[in-house]
Structures are given as structure tokens and as C-alpha cells.
Amino acid sequence: MKRLRIAFLPLLLILLTTSCKKNPIKHLTVEESWVYISSGNNGINFSNFSSVTIPDSVILISNRQGSNNYETNALAQSMIAEVKATMQSRGYSLTGKDNNPDLGISIARIDNSYTNVAVINGWWDPYYGYWDPTFWGYPGYGWAPTQFVFYNTTESAWAIDIIDLKNTSGNSLQILWSGTIRGEEIFNPQAVPLIVKGLFDIAPYIKRN
């Protein structure tokens, strides 16, 4: 019998190692991690517009490199060139912002890093029950020292907005369409042509004809 019981141990081990959780992120390639979000398919007729202007810099929204920055580096240039080429292929003519363009396109790079704090205090706390609650005069109450856990998350995204410069009402500008790209390696210049295509592919209604 003892031998049989010992035989259970490797079996249990095999089960524990083979029945682990499949980690979704580890099973994604870089391209599969890209998420494109397109917002603005609300009946606007994009063929009513003919010219578009795109500034020669990208807005940097970042909490670690200061705010209100404008980027003109190689990454920004490749992004701008790719969006320009896409708009041209959709039938729009490029023009400067002083020539009364119909549409304006703003490109922003979002690169935020956050430090978050989580509090652990409860029965799952490894230090639960260190002090007997009667010590504080409350028998039957659970108590443990509170622990704080710090963790860091980053938020990386491209945000592209198309602004209506033709029909300006009052003193506000209307955003006709917003596109967002998220995922891994999206700030790699080699990825730029692929991610711009991916985003505009789900917004086929943005076209002159």
C-alpha cells in the first residue's frame, strides 16, 4: 500500500505542472497584441470634404517626459508620412493650414507610466492573525497589519483625431473621427506602416469618393 501511495506523488506533480493556466499575453505575437479602435461612424459623409492638413509634429502626452511636448523625430515623421499617404490614397488633397483646409488631423503619442498602490488587508493577508484581536479589546474581530504593494503600469497608444475645419460653429471645433492604436512595439518605426493600415482598414468610410 505504501508503495502505491508514493506512486500518487509523481501523478499529482504531473497534474499540477500540466494543468497550469495558459497565459493569454504570452500566447500573443507582437502583431496580435495590436488593438485598433475607430470611433465616429455616425453618418458623417466624408466625401463632403476635399482637403486636409496635418501638422509636421506629433503631440506627446506623457507623464514622464513633461507635458505639452511636440515631437518631430524619426518616429513622428514616419507616422505623419504614413497618415498623409493614407489620406491621399483615400482621395484627399494635402494642403497647409493657412489654405482653408476642410479637415485637420491631430496625431498624439500617449506614453504614460503609473505607479499604483494596492492594499492587502483581510483573510488572504499572509500576516492575518498576528495579533490576537482580544489584544485590542475586540475578541472575535479579525485584524492584521496593513500591507501596501506597489506596481507599475504603462499606457502606450497612438491617438489620431480628424477635426472638422469646414463647418465651424461658434467657437468650438468638432472632432469627426477618433482612432486609437494600442499594443506592444507600437512606438517602433518599423511597425508604423502596419498599424496605420490596420487602423484605417476598419474605417473604410473615410474617403473622398
Binding site: 497534474l15 493556466k21 495558459k22 493569454p24 500573443l28 475607430s38 461612424n41 474605417a203
Partner: protein
């Protein structure tokens, strides 16, 4: 809290003491899970990542009561697709992931026949399951977890290694229902085929 813990320790040691006077059984099985119903809509794939374990104490020759636990992991990666939410389109590779850890009390019926190889049984277990639900859009996640009611009836058979062996192969088919509701998952139902070993303890 402390009183409850002491009570639980007393109770569990009492079970062990009385079990030593009779017959008890431990069984460890590998489980293959097939999602059913709305869970099938979330993950279509059959998953080989699961196991179950139980301890039973025989109150007489036919009935046993005990504890049952286990683990299952369902996972599916879907090809890139565009999902539409009113004015918004999202193009993403979605990954669906669902883990379940049931912790249940169980009751089984099955005659112990000395000297017979096949000993079929039927049983039911009920308790709670720790559920972890993850719906990933690329690397963005919609997550939900909780402890929910579970019931799991089963049929199976013990196949002894030989006529006089107290150990053998344990094969069973089990249905799991967990009252977990989130997004498109209305309840969590799986069917599992379980294959493993059992052994009887007689002191």
C-alpha cells in the same frame, strides 16, 4: 473567527479519527473539460488542463461522503476580427480565459463488492467555485472573479488492478454547473471526463 477555526480543526480531526475505523478512499484524476451552453460561446475548445481530487469516507457499504476539489483552465484565442459597439469599431485578437477551482462536499452511492473488478458509482457534489474570467482585447483585459455556487453530479466506475487490490483506475463523467454570470456567459457549465487512480484505506 478563531473559534470557527478551532471548530473546523476539531471537526476535521474527528473525521480523520472515525475514518480510520472504517473505509476511506482517495482519488486523483486528470480531467478533460468540454464547455457547454453559454460557456461554449466563450471558449469552444476542449481543455486538457484540469484535474480533480476527492476524499470519501464510507458510512456503510453503499454510501460515502467526503470532500472534492479540482482545477480547470479554459482558453481560446480568436483570430483578428472587428467588433462593433454602436459608433465604435474595435479590431483585435481576442483571448478568452476562464479558470475554475471547485471546493465541494460530495455524497456517492456505489456498492463495494469484494472481489469484483468493476465497481460503478454515482454521486453528487455541491459547494462553491473560485472563478476567474478574463476577456482580452490584445493586451487589454476585462476581468471578473468571484466565489460562486457549484453543483456537480457524476457517474463513474472504479476498476481495481486485480480482484483483491484496494487500488485501481478511477474513470468518471462529471457535469459541473456554476452560477457565474458575466457579459455573455450566463452560467458556467462544463462536462468533464476524468481518469485517474484511487486507493482505499482500511485500518
Amino acid at each position: 473567527m478563531k473559534q470557527i477555526i478551532i471548530l473546523l480543526i476539531t471537526l476535521s480531526s474527528a473525521t480523520v479519527v472515525s475514518a480510520q475505523q472504517g473505509l476511506s478512499k482517495i482519488s486523483i484524476q486528470h480531467s478533460t473539460h468540454l464547455p457547454v451552453g453559454s460557456a461554449r460561446g466563450f471558449v469552444e475548445n476542449i481543455s486538457p488542463r484540469g484535474f480533480s481530487a476527492d476524499y470519501s469516507y464510507f458510512i456503510n457499504n453503499n454510501f460515502s461522503i467526503g470532500f472534492a476539489g479540482g482545477y480547470s483552465d479554459l482558453y481560446q484565442k480568436k483570430d483578428r476580427q472587428t467588433y462593433t459597439y454602436t459608433e465604435t469599431e474595435i479590431s483585435a485578437v481576442k483571448s478568452h480565459s476562464l479558470q475554475s477551482i471547485p471546493l465541494m462536499l460530495k455524497a456517492n452511492y456505489g456498492k463495494i463488492k469484494e472481489g469484483s473488478l468493476f465497481q460503478p458509482y454515482a454521486g453528487i457534489a455541491a459547494g462553491g467555485s473560485l472563478i476567474n474570467y478574463e476577456e482580452w482585447f490584445g493586451t487589454l483585459v476585462d476581468e471578473k472573479s468571484g466565489f460562486r455556487f457549484t453543483v456537480a453530479p457524476e457517474i463513474g466506475t472504479r476498476i481495481s488492478f486485480n480482484k483483491y487490490s484496494l487500488a485501481g483506475i478511477d474513470l468518471s463523467l462529471r457535469y459541473h454547473y456554476t452560477a457565474f454570470k458575466y457579459n455573455d456567459v450566463k452560467n458556467l457549465q462544463t462536462l468533464s471526463l476524468n481518469l485517474g487512480l484511487f486507493f482505499f484505506n482500511r485500518n
